[in-house]
């Protein structure tokens, strides 16, 4: 039940961001987008053309430049959204750090989750097989698993 609640929260956040992506606002590439409002010409068009899709679909693998020109161009939002955005882009690095129980992504996630880095390393290593159930795991699943483990810790 808790897991379902988390999933709804996360996906809701992702969908809100996705709907923003469709708006003219999103062509800001992380910086302010106000300047482009209602403007035509080369700048806005080029920016709009390079706008990428949003997160929520990344399966295990290396992301090739996802967050170039989308609202995700900045680290934003609460713990859940930040964790998901981070894992969308760093899942394969976190997988190794989780397997080993230490590393830069664990230090970073510990910051996002506001917890002790060593503790997160231990949780990740002990529960590696749960976090990364199989090779088709996606970032949403890893995020949900991780948030659940951290909440119950």
């Amino acid at each position: 039940m808790k897991k379902l609640y988390l999933a709804v929260m996360l996906l809701g956040g992702a969908m809100m961001a996705a709907s923003n992506a469709g708006a003219v606002d999103s062509t800001g590439c992380g910086l302010g987008s106000m300047a482009w409002r209602g403007q035509s010409g080369i700048g806005p068009q080029v920016l709009a053309a390079t706008t990428n899709g949003l997160f929520g679909t990344q399966t295990f693998g290396i992301t090739f430049g996802t967050s170039g020109c989308d609202p995700n161009g900045r680290i934003t939002g609460g713990t859940g959204r930040m964790t998901l955005a981070f894992l969308e882009n760093n899942m394969e690095q976190y997988a190794m750090d989780a397997a080993a129980g230490r590393g830069e992504t664990i230090d970073t996630l510990a910051g996002i989750l506001n917890m002790d880095s060593e503790k997160l390393g231990e949780i990740s290593k002990t529960n590696f097989a749960y976090l990364f159930a199989d090779e088709n795991v996606d970032a949403v699943q890893v995020t949900l698993n991780l948030l659940e483990l951290v909440q119950n810790a």
Binding site: G32, V46, I62, F64, S67, I75, A100, D107, G111, F128
Partner: protein, 605 residues
């Protein structure tokens, strides 16, 4: 008398202008830097920024004074545009030119909230030989974060051209050189920057932490916001990614005068050196090696048994690591193997399903080991800051078929294989616009001997793990003699080749390249020539001295181009800025051989 009057008048005039400049806030260094105004040489100014929305006065691009008046007027009113200009507001406030408060600006506040700025870092990424626009490396800025965790949660601020995905077309080259694209700032998480450069393109990153005061940091973020709304015409060599960072840092601390150093070309590495040269600006340097550099460094630390087990895992999918008993060593091997699998996937050497399968084999095996690995991470590299300067002048004397000559050459950029390699990507050569003049004694004539439009060579050794392609691209104009007619004249030559490099050890490399040739010139039979050939060479680099010796065979469409050429070049560096070189070339050509020896002094500046 007239002259004296004129002199007196101009001294008086310029002194008056100076006083005006010092007193008027419209011509203060701070205001000029905030508006990216650059002196035009006639006492006038013009802003580098091209988009209209950056200026409030109709003639704001050329008139700092009207622009200041318009900015003061803006903050006296309620216009939403105030939210575009937090940097200018800080200037007005500091100089008591406004008493108004800065308005509530939701988007700007969100920007600050997302960034949580804690400092500014200049980033330099190594050359990337697989993309013509990255041969000289790249620079960008990082807004360090106060967020809990690591600087992975900081943001990179990149100035680049909006090229709409045309990077690999001819159009890109043309538009990039002529200002056909607009450039602007974009921001993305630092972990994304690392993925792009360290992990996907395998480039080292150098981080130079800048020593900004809290006020300067505020101004930087505010100015980044206002300049982030604007765009400028992008010129690949002059008004490029690195140049705009200079103007942006000047806006924060006008006394730096960084942009002044780059009136013509702005080579990324030169801009980094300029930043480093400013007293009190750089407070720390940090190195982030590429994934490939990390893998190589880890592989070096393995003993023979460990190497065998490692190679069996990555080559034959034998993940048992037999022969290795120490658990820490096993952990190290598995972590290295995992990184190698990631490398292979990025290099398109693995299908997604194989990639995932191998990744999980490494992960699960690593997860079973309780111990931590013991390997040292790569902490330091050859800092490009301390590399030789890009400009090179050569003064030499030699003998060509018995005739003495003297020569002078000038190269604006960038690095030859036989130049001191410290801080450069080893095996990468990029020469632009190298121009050589010669004076021949017997015939007493001075001629343009050679003009290299561009010369790119990338020697990259293959080994058990990495199989890169070595290649060369040359376009030059040469003074040559037609042995049939004994007439001298200019030929335009193009040469493209590819092949492999093998390393005997750290210092000595062998290479073999196959090439195609095309030439055009009035002295050539039928004006044109085409050819096929090969080059075999040895490249030795012992730090302070380097040697290249190669043999080149060309089979051409006519006798003029049929050649066998032997070349050797030995260079010894006295220090980072000076070297002495000895070169020898012997060419067999249509019964008329060429024999040339040259000694020279190379100066880098």
């Amino acid at each position: 008398m007239m002259f004296k009057n004129w002199l007196f008048f101009s001294v008086f005039f310029f002194a008056a202008a100076e006083i005006q400049a010092a007193e008027s806030p419209a011509y203060s260094p701070e205001w000029l830097a905030l508006g990216h105004y650059r002196p035009q040489g006639n006492g006038q100014y013009e802003s580098t920024i091209d988009s209209d929305n950056f200026f409030l006065a109709p003639d704001g691009k050329e008139n700092p004074e009207n622009e200041l008046k318009a900015t003061i007027a803006l903050f006296a009113g309620q216009d939403e545009k105030r939210c575009f200009f937090p940097g200018r507001y800080l200037y007005l406030k500091k100089h008591k030119l406004t008493s108004a408060d800065f308005p509530k600006c939701k988007e700007y506040e969100q920007f600050q909230k997302d960034l949580q700025p804690a400092g500014v870092t200049l980033l330099f990424t190594d050359a990337y030989m697989n993309n013509p626009s990255s041969l000289f490396g790249h620079t960008l800025l990082r807004i360090d974060t106060a967020r809990k965790g690591t600087q992975l949660l900081a943001h990179g601020a990149n100035y680049g051209a909006f090229t709409a995905g045309q990077e690999n077309s001819v159009l890109f080259a043309v538009l990039g050189l002529t200002g056909g694209y607009y450039g602007g700032f974009t921001v993305k998480p630092y972990y994304d920057v690392i993925n792009t450069y360290n992990n996907i393109e395998n480039r080292d990153i150098w981080e130079l932490n800048l020593d900004f005061t809290p006020e300067e940091l505020d101004l930087f973020v505010a100015h980044l916001w206002e300049v982030g709304q604007a765009q400028s015409r992008y010129y690949f060599f002059t008004r490029n990614c690195s140049y705009m960072l200079m103007e942006t840092l000047d806006a924060v601390r006008p006394g730096l005068h960084l942009a002044d150093d780059f009136p013509v070309q702005a080579i990324p590495l030169d801009t980094v050196k300029a930043v480093y040269s400013r007293p009190g600006l750089v407070k720390g340097i940090n190195y982030r090696p590429s994934r490939q550099a990390k893998i190589k460094h880890r592989y070096k630390q393995m003993n023979t048994k460990e190497k065998e087990a490692y190679l069996a895992a990555i080559k034959n999918q034998d993940w048992t690591l037999s022969g290795v008993d120490d658990n820490a060593a096993k952990a190290d091997i598995l972590e290295t193997a995992y990184q190698y699998v990631q490398y292979q996937y990025v290099a398109h050497e693995l299908e997604l399903s194989d990639y995932r399968q191998r990744s999980f084999k490494a992960l699960l095996a690593r997860n079973k080991i309780a111990e931590n690995g013991k390997m040292e991470e790569l902490k330091d590299g050859k800092n490009p800051l301390f590399s030789h300067n890009a400009m090179r002048a050569v003064f030499g004397a030699g003998i060509r078929n018995g005739e003495a000559f003297q020569e002078v050459s000038y190269r604006p950029a960038y690095h030859s294989l036989t130049d001191d390699n410290y801080g450069f990507l080893r095996g990468a050569e990029i020469n632009f616009l190298n121009t050589t003049f010669r004076h021949y004694d017997d015939s007493d004539k001075t001629v343009l001997q050679q003009f290299d439009l561009v010369g790119i060579k990338s020697l990259s050794p293959i080994d058990a793990m990495f199989k890169p392609i070595s290649y060369l691209i040359n376009a030059d104009v040469k003074r040559e003699m037609n042995p049939g007619t004994e007439k001298e004249g200019y030929t335009f030559n193009l040469k493209v080749g590819g092949g492999s490099t093998v390393a005997l050890n750290e210092e000595i490399w062998f290479y073999f390249l196959g090439s195609v040739y095309a030439g055009y010139g009035a002295i050539l039979p039928d004006n044109t020539i085409g050819g096929l050939g090969w080059t075999a060479g040895i490249f030795a680099d012992y730090g302070s001295w380097r040697l290249i010796a190669e043999a080149e065979k060309v089979l051409a469409t006519n006798h003029f181009g049929d050649k066998m050429r032997y070349k050797a070049e030995a260079v010894y560096s006295l220090n980072r800025s000076n070297a002495i070189a000895a070169e020898y070339c012997y060419e067999q050509n249509y019964g008329k051989d060429l024999d040339e020896a040259l000694v020279s002094w190379r100066h880098y500046f």
